[in-house]
C-alpha cells in the first residue's frame, strides 16, 4: 500500500511543470517559467518561517523550453524558493536544470554544510545519466555553490567542467549572452535594504519566542510583595519594562538589520547597543520614565536593555552576506562577558530596588 502511494505521487506532475520532454534516457518534466499563486504563497510562508524545512522539489533533471543535447545545464538546490527563482529567470531559454538533494536548503547554506557538494553532484550526474542526455561536458553552477564544490574534483570524477555562474539567478541571461563571462557586479554579493528586511521576520520570531519567559519574569518580580504576588503591582510596575523589552527586540532584530550600513561602527554588537540606547531613550521620553528620583530604575534601563538589543543584533551575523567566523568570534569573546556582567548587575540592582521598596533598607 505504502509503495503504491509513493509510485502514484511520483507519476503526478507537480503544478509548476508543463508537460514532459523526451531524452535518450526517458522523459523529464518541462518546467513552467511562470509563478502561480501557490508559488507566491509558498514564498511568503517560507520567508516568514512557517514551513521552511519542507519546502522542497524532487532532485533530478528538469527541462526548460525544448532543450537539446547541446543545451546548457544549470545546477541548483532543491529548496523550492531557490528552484523557483531559477526557473523564472530562465524563461525563454532552452536549458536543463539539474536539482541536487540539499534537504530543501538554499545553495549557499547547503554548500556550507556540504550537501551542495561534489559527492552529491557526481551522484546526481550518474543517476540522471546526464552524460547520455547532453553531448557536451559543461555545467553551470551558482557561484555561491563554490563554497561546497571543488570544480577540479568533479571534472576528474565525471569529465564535466564547471563554470561558476553569477551569484544571482537574475543575471543568468546577461551572463550567457556575454559568452559566459561575469562582470564584477555579477560575481559580488550585495546586501541591499530589501534583502535585509525580508530576513528580519526570522530574527524577530526566535527573539519573540523567548519573550514570554522574560515577560513572566518581569511581572513576577514587580508583583512580588511581602504578602504574595499582587496582580496590580505586577502590571503597573512591570509594564514599562515589558515595553522596554519589546523596544529592545525591535531595535536589535528589526531596526539594526534595516539600517545596518547607516549605523556607525563595524561591530554588530556596538550597532545593536547604539540602537538599543536610542530605543530606551525614546521609550523613556514617551512614557515619562522613570519616576523622578528613581535613579536605580534609570540605571537598570540603560544598563540592561541596550545590551539586550546588542545581543539580538549580533544574531543577525548569521543572516548577512559579509560577516566571517573570525570576526563574530572576536565580537563574542569581548561581548559575552559584558552581556553576562550587565545582566548580573541589573539583577542585583533590581533586588536592591525591591528591598528598598519593602522598607527593609
Amino acid at each position: 500500500m505504502q509503495i503504491q502511494t509513493l509510485q502514484f505521487v511520483k507519476k503526478v506532475a507537480p503544478p509548476w511543470t508543463a508537460g514532459t520532454v523526451n531524452t535518450p534516457v526517458g522523459s523529464v518534466f518541462r518546467l513552467s517559467s511562470d509563478w502561480s499563486r501557490p508559488d507566491y504563497w509558498g514564498m511568503i510562508k517560507s520567508r516568514s518561517g512557517a514551513f521552511r524545512m519542507n519546502y522542497a522539489v524532487s532532485p533530478g533533471l528538469y527541462a526548460v523550453g525544448d532543450p537539446t543535447k547541446d543545451s546548457d545545464v544549470f545546477v541548483t538546490a532543491n529548496y523550492k524558493l531557490t528552484f523557483d527563482m531559477l526557473r523564472r529567470e530562465l524563461k525563454g531559454m532552452q536549458a536543463w536544470i539539474l536539482v541536487l538533494d540539499t534537504k530543501s536548503i538554499n545553495v549557499w547554506c547547503a554548500a556550507g554544510k556540504g550537501t551542495f557538494g561534489a559527492d552529491e553532484l557526481v551522484n546526481r550526474i550518474v543517476t540522471t545519466k546526464l552524460d547520455a542526455v547532453v553531448s557536451h561536458r559543461r555545467l553551470i553552477l551558482p557561484q555561491l555553490g563554490a563554497v561546497g564544490v571543488n570544480a577540479a574534483e568533479v571534472q576528474k570524477r565525471t569529465g564535466f567542467r564547471i563554470s561558476f555562474g553569477p551569484v544571482q539567478a537574475k543575471d543568468i541571461p546577461a551572463y550567457v549572452q556575454a559568452g559566459y563571462k561575469k562582470t564584477i557586479e555579477m560575481r559580488t554579493i550585495t546586501f541591499p535594504m530589501l534583502d535585509r528586511l525580508v530576513l528580519t521576520p526570522m530574527e524577530i520570531n526566535p527573539a519573540m519566542k523567548k519573550f514570554p519567559w522574560l515577560a513572566a519574569g518581569i511581572l513576577l518580580f514587580f508583583g512580588l510583595e511581602p504578602q504574595g504576588v499582587l496582580f496590580k503591582q505586577a502590571w503597573f510596575g512591570g509594564l514599562p519594562y515589558l515595553i522596554l523589552s519589546l523596544a529592545s527586540v525591535l531595535g536589535g532584530a528589526f531596526v539594526t538589520p534595516a539600517l545596518l550600513p547607516f549605523i556607525p561602527f563595524r561591530s554588530f554588537a556596538i550597532k545593536g547597543w547604539l540602537i538599543g540606547l536610542l530605543a530606551v531613550f525614546a521609550v523613556h521620553q514617551l512614557l515619562h520614565l522613570p519616576a523622578p528620583g528613581d535613579t536605580i530604575a534609570m540605571i537598570v534601563s540603560y544598563l540592561f536593555f541596550p545590551v539586550m538589543s546588542s545581543y539580538i543584533a549580533l544574531q543577525f551575523t548569521g543572516s548577512t552576506t559579509f560577516t566571517g567566523m573570525s570576526g563574530v568570534k572576536k565580537e563574542l569573546k569581548i561581548g559575552i562577558p559584558i552581556y553576562i556582567g550587565a545582566a548580573s548587575i541589573s539583577l542585583v540592582l533590581l533586588i536592591v530596588l525591591k528591598v528598598k521598596e519593602w522598607g527593609l533598607l
Binding site: 517560507s46 518561517g49 521552511r52 524545512m53 519546502y55 529548496y79 524558493l81 530543501s104 536548503i105 538554499n106 549557499w108 547554506c109 556550507g112 554544510k113 557561484q143 555561491l144 563554490a146 563554497v147 561546497g148 564544490v149 571543488n150 570544480a151 577540479a152 563554470s163 561558476f164 551569484v167 561575469k182 564584477i184 560575481r187 559580488t188 554579493i189 546586501f191 526570522m202 545596518l260 550600513p261 563595524r266 561591530s267 554588530f268 549580533l314 544574531q315 551575523t317 548569521g318 543572516s319 548577512t320 552576506t321 559579509f322 560577516t323 566571517g324 567566523m325 573570525s326 570576526g327 563574530v328 568570534k329 572576536k330 565580537e331 563574542l332 559575552i336
Partner: protein, 97 residues
C-alpha cells in the same frame, strides 16, 4: 559593507599561483583580482571566510579557516564543543532556509 578589520584567517602564497582565475570567479566579495596573470588580494578585510577560493584553488596557493560567521552557531559550538555549523537547533531543523 565591510566587517571587522584584520580578523580574517585568509592567507595567499602568490608564488604558487598558476593564474587560472578560479579564485576571482568564486569569491563573492571581490577579494581577488587578476594582476599580471596572477591573482592578487585587493582588500583582505572584505573576506568573509566562506572558503570557496581555498576549496577551488588547484595549486594550494590559498588557505583560510572557513566557517559560518553566525553568532548563534558559534555560541552553540562553545556550549557543545563542536565546529560552528548551521544546524542550530538539532537535527531536522535549520536556521537557514
Amino acid at each position: 559593507m565591510k566587517y571587522l578589520a584584520n580578523v580574517t584567517t585568509l592567507s595567499y602564497a602568490a608564488d604558487k599561483c598558476a593564474g587560472c582565475g578560479r579564485c576571482v570567479e568564486v569569491c563573492p566579495q571581490g577579494v581577488f583580482e587578476m594582476q599580471d596573470k596572477r591573482a592578487a588580494i585587493i582588500d583582505r578585510d572584505l573576506c568573509m571566510e566562506c572558503g570557496a577560493c581555498a576549496r577551488n584553488c588547484e595549486f594550494g596557493a590559498i588557505s583560510v579557516n572557513a566557517g559560518v560567521g553566525c553568532a548563534a552557531a558559534i555560541i552553540n559550538s562553545m556550549i557543545t564543543g563542536g565546529e560552528p555549523s548551521c544546524d542550530c537547533s538539532g537535527s531536522g531543523s535549520s536556521c537557514c532556509g
